[in-house]
Symmetry: C2
Subunit: 186 residues, 2 copies
DNA sequence: CCGTATATGTCAACATGGCTGACATAAATT
DNA sequence: AATTTATGTCAGCCATGTTGACATATACGG
């Protein structure tokens, strides 16, 4: 197999000169390093769950749904749509399967009986925890060799990467750091 | 709209008790915080590029291809398949479009003329830089308020999140921190 | 030189998970 | 009573992943 040669083609067509792979990024230079690290890190991060999900006949879409329902019991369908930013038709497909197979149950809202509050069953929670365990192991390993301030820096970085305009309810609780859970309960 | 109520349904069907949203994560507890922050951070990170790509009639798949070709000129098709971990048929669809529309050019390998070395054109590089600029702005903003060691911690964290078994050539250069580019050139 | 392996390309079919548009129902709201 | 809202559903389209089969050109080993 050929190597990455970092050269322009000899006598080839008009091509751009290569971006520096060895140069240090100055101020305002694209952060190629972080961009690519995010790609690879996220790929492997979700890959952990993907393998397990396959044995259940589920995909990533099912994971996201059952994860957030498990973590935020009583989430409504509308809330879930805000979090996932997909259409109700897309959600419906995977949600129906999770309901049919007993990973999630619905309950009509108390104050508004049109709403369908969603709850994970024990079965659903077991799946979520199995997947979270895999991902947590990877995270714990990645945090292990960071200094004491390293973990906080990573959390701070990730929070600052997230859009602040129009956060949904789940995102609000996450960004507020759990300090005021009751503040979002009207 | 209903609020996330963090309660079990009254008299509802058998559901699991809620995971703690307000409790601090102890050792060995799932890192719900990082798991969810990664989800939201990556969603918004790739969202930046998605909007621009739409105006070009391209998707994320096109971005990944032209990005890595631009960054690692002379990448072969096989190299690219290793990096993206997709099938050659999937790659072929988007690569063909990028070739047809003049974002990428091919050149037969020097030592092995079966190979198709890939290079971004000026047009391709302009697109990649436009997208990288957006993502870099987000990254720079997220790194801004971290202490001096914060940036290093983030890089170290992301590197440690990546699988080390069987890294492709691109990943090798990234993980080696650019110190020995020529080491990978046989 | 010949046979086999490799690098790439292509066709066809299929799965997942996004999307839009249209429409139905029940319950809340005015 | 009329309208709005929360949810569900049907039908079809698109992007992007998959597998399997097969073609071509080139490299390589005997």
């Amino acid at each position: 197999m050929a190597d990455i040669n970092f050269k322009d083609p000899v006598g080839g067509p008009a091509v751009a000169t290569r971006p520096s792979a060895a140069r240090q990024a100055g101020p305002d230079e694209p952060r190629w390093d972080i961009i690519e690290l995010l790609f690879f890190a996220y790929r492997d991060f979700v890959g952990d769950a993907d393998h397990v999900l396959e044995t259940f006949g589920f995909g990533r879409a099912h994971h996201r749904v059952v994860h957030f329902v498990c973590r935020y019991p009583g989430l409504t369908v509308a809330d879930l749509l805000d979090v996932l930013r997909i259409t109700k038709q897309s959600l419906s497909r995977v949600l129906k399967q999770l309901l049919d197979e007993g990973y999630i149950v619905q309950k009509a809202g108390d104050s508004d009986r049109r709403q369908r509050l969603l709850f994970a069953t024990a079965k659903g929670e077991a799946l979520v925890e199995k997947l979270a365990r895999l991902q947590t192991d990877r995270i714990a390993h990645a945090l292990r060799d960071l200094g004491p301030g390293g973990g906080e820096a990573v959390g701070k970085f990730l929070r600052a990467m997230i859009d602040r305009d129009d956060p949904d309810k789940v995102l609000q609780t996450i960004l507020q750091g759990d300090a005021s859970v009751k503040d979002i309960a009207t």
